[in-house]
């Protein structure tokens, strides 16, 4: 990259010999990096085949797609499917649910991971720290079907949560957690925190270990206690990591989830439980309206891209770390 740009700028002022020499060295460098280039080419081809070619399927959103006619012979209907999508009240509700759960999950898991990493870093007993870290990231490897099974049991009428609350006389009747809309988002947020906190904290722990110990020593000499060290050394040093991860996660806000909502939801809470992904499944696969499902999928991708670009620009403006 830098090579070619300096070449383009300097070309006029340089004499021909020098240009030749430069070109030759460019070529020999290319030759030198042959293996790297081949690998890059392979990955580019991989990217094209598996990331860009499938985008051709987006054409379905502008057709009245029928599997029998295929992509080539289905009738084009322009933006009709998008119109249908945005006039559907349930789609608007689904967007609201996705955004709400996405944002709640983002904030809660994010804050919890940082807090957890810092707390864990303060533990001075090495063995204890290792044990806690290992235990806390294990749930990451459980599939959602298991996690929802555990939740279903724990929160059921005679599950552990209700039994505890009954024994402590906090409630007089078992609460049916899955029958009330107000509990659904908190349950989803809790499940995400439980499953991902330990895993997400690993990156922060790694970042913390790379902080120069002399900073802590200097702070100690200046009379900083534990709290002051966290506030003035650890957190500022983590800031670039936090920004990058935040940016990457913002793009995922609309990926608020599919499995957990799909597996925990029921008729009573469907107003707050259904996400865009469930909507796509329902209309695209179950009802066989592939075009409508694709349109909803496109909408989701476009919003995600806008979010990422927007927050990247914000970060740029404030002079923070950024993705691109």
């Amino acid at each position: 990259m830098t090579l070619s740009s300096s070449n383009a700028e300097g070309v006029i002022s340089l004499d021909e010999n020098k240009v030749k020499e430069k070109k030759k060295s460019d070529f020999s460098r290319l030759k030198h990096q042959k293996v790297l280039l081949i690998w890059t080419a392979i990955l580019t081809v991989y990217g094209i085949i598996f990331y860009y070619l499938p985008l051709g399927g987006w054409i379905m959103a502008f057709q009245n797609y029928r599997p029998k006619d295929g992509l080539l012979h289905s009738k084009f209907v322009g933006l009709e499917k998008f119109k249908l999508l945005f006039s559907d009240v349930s789609f608007l509700r689904v967007i609201r649910n996705t955004l709400a759960m996405g944002i709640i999950n983002l904030i809660v898991t994010f804050v919890m991971a940082i807090v957890f990493a810092i707390l864990l870093n303060e533990v001075s007993h090495r063995g204890g720290k290792k044990v806690v870290q290992t235990i806390s990231y294990l749930p990451h490897f459980l599939s959602w079907i298991i996690v929802t099974g555990i939740l279903h049991d724990a929160l059921s009428g005679n599950g552990i949560i209700n039994q505890l609350m009954l024994n402590f006389h906090l409630i007089s009747q078992p609460i049916n957690f899955f029958a009330h809309e107000k509990f659904f988002w908190p349950i989803v947020a809790f499940a995400n925190v439980w499953k991902e906190t330990g895993w997400n904290a690993i990156i922060y722990l790694a970042a913390i270990t790379s902080i120069d110990p002399s900073l802590y020593e200097a702070a100690a000499i200046d009379g900083a206690g534990r709290w002051a060290k966290i506030k003035h050394v650890t957190l500022p040093s983590l800031k670039p990591t936090i920004m990058i991860l935040l940016l990457m996660n913002v793009g995922n806000v609309l990926n608020a989830g599919f499995e957990i909502q799909y597996l925990l939801g029921n008729g009573l809470v469907q107003n707050v439980s259904q996400t865009i992904d469930i909507y796509v499944l329902k209309w695209g696969i179950s009802q066989g309206d592939y075009s409508l499902g694709t349109a909803a999928g496109i909408f989701k991708s476009v919003v995600s891209i806008i979010l990422i670009v927007f927050f990247n620009q914000m970060a740029k403006r404030h002079g923070e770390e950024r993705l691109f």
Binding site: I49, R66, P67, H152, N266, G267, L268, I285, S286
Partner: protein, 557 residues
């Protein structure tokens, strides 16, 4: 140099995998012949089912007789529409398929082979339906694409189980009350309340659950459609057909349905209706029934009999009277009930189809034809003579107690039995004119195989079978049942859209209505939401179909 060689090799292998990855998956199926000279087909059925072992004994016997073997796979963890939608999106199919309610999607995707040109060549298949029935299977393009497998009666009808929907109750409840006559909804709940009051727990101390409602996804019929039966109408499924003037009536808004939900609301407040009803999954529901704690519920027999009823037997809970029997319940005393219909129901909306991925359509159909032959049919449903059943001096088949225990044992079934249960099959009387096609229809064997508590209950009511508990009625008319049409509706028509929306609204509001503090306001909210789905669009499309069916039937009179 060596490094280069390694990277070149890596490169070659990666390109290789990338290319083959794009090509079509070579499928071993499609009537490929294995080393023993047996053709192997694949099948997918969009219903949950039990996989049998690869070395299943009867499957091997059938393979020796017919030269074919089918690897069956079943629905797991998805709805049938999702599974079929995924197949269509992938474009590759098993040889045989039954998509359940989503079968029409397969037809619309052009995934099925038209069968009408072949049918005449296979006598057993040809014999399976009358010309009128075959014609009713023709799709919009005039071809036949699938063969409904069930409810087809050979000779005289032989039916002992009520395979359909009913209000079920445990025999111990009836016994405790001295086997009273229970005819109305009020009597039913009254009995359950009284029993629960004096028996809050089972013998071992676990709490009884007086009444639970399964409400999981498509299985919410256990909550939703009792209204039509309570009014004395048969299972048209999605609507009532008023036989006086051949008009479609929406059962969701009838006074009887409202009374039914009001009753549920009342019982919910009294603590009789299980508070977990609307959030439990199907598995949790079956687990509950299997413990014998649930006194009563509405359900279809096929939905709980093969797992919960068997589990109750295996756990020895049948001695405590935990098996279920159906009751002839209507909203008022003295009404005719039509919970049970005789004559078999031809469900034209789904069946066994052969896909365009099948490379040997004739071989596949020959196999279906062979499965309908008497000898193989006996192997499928009765098993091996001397191992699974005995033949009496009068030529009647019967089972020893040990053989009966085997039949209820899932491990034995997986290694030994192979009913090919989603391939076409006969009910009624065997071609020998004596035995029933299936053990469930063999009256004496059926009665002998019942748990003692159920026998005692039947004796008290003076009946011999589940069907007699309810009484039976002929099908009400040539249109019956209307659900075979509504289950093929898609959102492509206004009626189909209304049907999908109604389904969604009912899923959400019916539980709310039952749990409402004030029933009337809850019902009004529900009705408001319900009206906004434009149910009239759905009703008018059903009316058109009803008239079409009556017209078609006239041609054959």
């Amino acid at each position: 140099m060596r490094q280069k060689l390694v990277s070149a090799l890596l490169l070659a292998s990666m390109v290789g995998t990338a290319l083959t990855g794009c090509g079509s998956k070579a499928s071993a199926a499609g009537g490929a012949v294995n080393k023993d000279g047996i053709k192997e087909f694949t099948a997918f059925f969009a219903v949950p089912g039990n996989e049998i072992n690869d070395d299943n004994e009867i499957q091997q016997l059938i393979a020796e007789k017919t030269g074919c073997k089918v690897k069956e796979t079943w629905l797991t963890g998805q709805t049938n529409e999702e599974a079929i939608g995924t197949l269509i999106a992938g474009g590759e199919y098993p040889d045989f398929v039954d998509g359940g309610d989503a079968t029409v999607q397969l037809y619309e995707a052009g995934a099925l082979v038209p069968l009408d040109d072949y049918i005449d060549k296979y006598p057993n298949i040809k014999e399976f339906f009358t010309d009128q029935e075959w014609d009713s299977l023709r799709q919009s393009d005039g071809h036949i694409y699938w063969i409904p497998q069930f409810s087809n009666i050979y000779g005289e009808e032989r039916e002992c189980t009520h395979n359909d929907e009913a209000f079920w109750i445990q025999t111990r409840v009836l016994k405790w009350a001295g086997y009273p006559e229970i005819h109305t909804l009020d009597q039913y709940f009254d009995l359950i309340e009284k029993y629960y009051e004096s028996n809050p727990t089972m013998e071992d101390g676990t709490a009884n659950i007086p009444y639970t409602i399964l409400c999981d996804d498509w299985r919410y019929f256990c909550l939703e459609n009792a209204g039509e039966f309570l009014d004395g109408y048969p299972n048209d499924g999605s609507v009532i057909v008023d036989t006086d003037n051949n008009k479609i009536v929406d059962y969701n808004t009838t006074p009887t349905t409202k009374k039914y939900f009001e009753k549920l609301n009342e019982e919910y407040k009294k603590g009789i209706v299980d508070p977990e009803s609307f959030t439990q999954t199907y598995d949790e529901y079956i687990a509950k029934l299997s413990t014998g704690r649930v006194l009563g519920m509405v359900d279809q027999w096929w939905d709980f009999s093969s797992n919960a009823e068997d589990a109750i037997k295996t756990a020895g809970l049948d001695k405590a009277g935990c098996n279920y029997v159906p009751l002839p319940i209507t909203i008022d005393e003295g009404m005719k009930n039509q919970w049970h219909n005789s004559g078999g129901v031809l469900n034209v909306s789904s069946g066994l189809g052969i896909t365009t991925s099948c490379k040997d359509v004739e071989g596949a159909l020959q196999f279906v034809n062979d499965l309908l032959g008497q000898e193989v049919h006996d192997l499928r449903f009765w098993g091996v003579k001397g191992e699974d059943y005995e033949v009496g001096d009068d030529g009647m088949y019967y089972r020893t107690p040990e053989e009966r225990a085997n039949v209820a044992d899932t491990a034995y079934k997986a290694s030994h039995s192979c009913p090919y249960s989603y391939f076409p099959q006969w009910l009624g009387t065997s071609r020998d004119g004596k035995n029933a096609m299936k053990p469930e229809g063999q009256e004496q064997e059926f009665y002998d195989g019942l748990p003692d508590t159920v026998k005692e209950c039947f004796d008290a009511y003076g009946v011999k079978t589940y069907v007699e508990m309810l009484g039976t009625n002929p099908a009400p008319g040539p249109w019956y049942p209307m659900y075979t049409y509504s289950s093929t509706m898609t959102t492509a028509t206004p009626g189909g859209t209304a049907w999908a929306l109604m389904d969604e609204i009912k899923h959400q509001y019916l539980p709310k209505v039952v749990m409402a503090d004030n029933f009337e306001t809850g019902w009004d909210e529900y009705m408001k939401a319900y009206e906004s789905c434009k149910p009239e669009d759905f009703i008018s499309e059903m009316q058109t179909e009803l008239e079409r069916r009556i017209e078609v039937a006239k041609k054959y009179e």
